[in-house]
Symmetry: C2
Subunit: 393 residues, 2 copies
């Protein structure tokens, strides 16, 4: 009676959202301070002051109709120009406003890009562990998901990528800084991936696109984050301000398609068409203008660094094993039993809400989002200790 696939997607929700909703309900039951919700990537440091200042300034100075009315489908011209100028200046690549399409956040950037590129029979490669919704977005666009596992260090495994990219590969999704592992790919890695994709494109006689999902670009702890477009011509950057500016609920981001990519005009037309077909119309007008004045800025990354250090220290003291993340705000911790879901269920007894790694495409880990208030980590320490004891760590 209804669309079966979407019914199932709606019933299942994402694993992350499921735990997040459970946490909200649990907080209402026993009090917010007693639940240690490490499930969702909802930024935990306030938006930089400029954001609210700019909102109030715009509301007080710009005529209501100009401020709140439709923009062009691809975005307000001055906003697209500002984004293009920022990309040129910050990353030293050619970019023009004609390749910038403002979106309702990262998910929209990805669904629009995938629907723009996907033809019948196309495959898209994801590097696992990866954000679970990639699979939903690829399949909803009509594509097939192919996985390439990282090495144990969570960095790309060139041999695995070589095996995964074939004649039907339309694109590869790259996510650095990475959710869920916090890995940041190096200049050497980007160069090697570019070389591989160039070779594969030549082999299949059509470009393999690099879809760079970059919501965590500004959130790093010292590591340089090379710009994929500088390494590979067939790159489409899917950016979001959700994490950098702590605006996850406001749904604002952009697609930047390299002017040097194959059939650049067709790619951009297809992006516009996909946005239209999916019902996006334009990105939120007020926040388009807000982010244009905050490009490259972020909330206080030092807060995340302090959280990371405290949580790492707490977990390592308890005997848990994980690789220190170089960016983003997630710890990817080895589960002390092979079944990560069972481990997460046991953690729930201590009101610790962790996300099992199965949805990220690997077994035996949990993701812990540390974009929370410091006090949550402090209060959670005894719970982690008790949990570790259960496993004899």
């Amino acid at each position: 009676m209804v669309n079966a696939r979407n019914k199932k997607l709606g019933e299942a929700r994402s694993v992350i959202r499921e735990i997040f909703e459970y946490g909200n309900a649990r907080k209402r039951e026993i009090g917010a301070d007693k639940v240690f919700d490490f499930s969702i990537g909802n930024p935990g440091v306030p938006a930089p002051g400029e954001v609210n200042e700019e909102i109030v300034r715009l509301v007080n100075t710009m005529p209501s109709l100009a401020l709140h009315g439709y923009t062009s489908a691809a975005g307000a011209p001055e906003v697209r120009e500002a984004v293009a100028r920022y990309i040129r200046t910050a990353f030293g690549v050619p970019m023009s406003a004609e390749g910038v399409y403002m979106t309702c956040g990262a998910a929209a950037s990805l669904t629009i890009t995938l629907n723009a590129l996907c033809e019948e029979g196309d495959e898209f490669v994801v590097i696992t562990p990866c954000f679970p919704e990639y699979g939903v977005f690829i399949e909803s666009a009509g594509g097939k998901v192919v996985t390439a596992a990282t090495g144990e260090d969570f960095h790309p495994d060139l041999a695995a990528l070589d095996a995964a990219v074939g004649a039907h590969t339309k694109g590869v999704i790259l996510n650095s800084p990475n959710n869920p592992t916090g890995a940041v790919y190096s200049v050497q890695e980007l160069a090697a991936i570019a070389g591989l994709l160039r070779r594969k494109s030549a082999q299949r006689g059509a470009p393999v696109f690099l879809i760079a999902d970059e919501p965590y670009r500004e959130l790093t702890y010292g590591a340089e984050v090379p710009y994929p477009m500088a390494f590979y011509e067939n790159t489409v950057v899917c950016y979001s301000f959700s994490k950098s500016l702590s605006l996850a609920g406001e749904r604002i981001g952009y697609i930047a398609a390299s002017p040097q990519c194959a059939a650049a005009a067709d790619v951009f037309s297809a992006v516009c068409g996909a946005g239209r077909a999916l019902g996006f119309v334009c990105a939120p007008a007020l926040f388009q203008r807000v982010v244009a004045t905050c490009l490259g800025k972020s909330g206080d990354v030092e807060e995340y660094r302090a959280n990371r250090d405290l949580l790492l220290h707490t977990l390592q003291r308890c005997g848990f094993v994980c690789i220190p993340p170089e960016g983003a705000f997630y710890l990817f911790v080895r589960s002390p039993e092979p079944d990560a879901a069972a481990f997460c269920e046991r953690a729930k007894k201590y009101e610790l809400l962790l996300v099992p790694s199965d949805g990220f495409g690997v077994k035996g880990y949990v993701r812990i989002s540390y974009c929370v208030e410091r006090a949550v980590i402090e209060r959670a320490a005894p719970a982690f200790e008790a949990l570790a004891k259960e496993y004899g760590l």
Copy 2:
């Protein structure tokens, strides 16, 4: 190399957006005051004062993280509750927060609803003339478009509707107050349509859903706008605040699925799943809270009435023929030559930007959006006169 359908959609843009973009370019060329752009439904009266007041109040009083962070996918609980309460109170129908899903505006409400309902082989009926994007949205969801023409008065023709709704009809899109004609359907018409759909549902052994697209509900000139859900159980209301609150660029609206509709829980699950698959995540968080305090309100409708009266007077004095609209902010005017596109091209010579009716599913009319500054109508009068003279009116 890219998705052909979306490339085509992106190249073609909507006819309306095409003219709107032409108008923007033309204004830069010859000056904004010399172009008479009647193409787009971008509200022309400012958002009610409460909107900007509420934005500033929220920014100044609500913690940044709570204000700008993710809400639940279906919306912030207190916002969904406020919308449900408003619907119960204003329209006397049962409605609970569980049936309310906050969206990124009318287009999103429609694409999510269509993707939620559409199964293979499904047809959706639109009553023509209608908003051109209905066809794009239905086909993108995998459905087939079936049309039922209105009578000459632009009100539903029950016989045509009877012929259009068949064994494969999953839903009928109803739009009152109507874009492009301004018609408002009466209590008697709603009751008759409900009876027809009930009969058809029984015949096919499965519900025919009524999808009520209602962005113009509050914009009427005296006519009552009956609430479809009060007449027919299998109703899904697709609402947007774009026109009522003059927030077209901010992308905020909702889906309200009747708790009395068939398989209500499945319908809502499928709505959640479709929203997820299309990449919506949640509706813009700040504006969810803004609209919750402005339910049922609108910009100054008297401004639109004055525009309507002035434009009607101007056009009728020139000899053009049209039915006075009862709601929304469009005049649907008979083209003095059979080819409406040719008429619109001729109008362009006088910098009059009108939209030919072909895209709305009928021939021989033009849509004139009068949600413009009064001065545009005043300044356009000589242009309309000159155009009429060309046709010997």
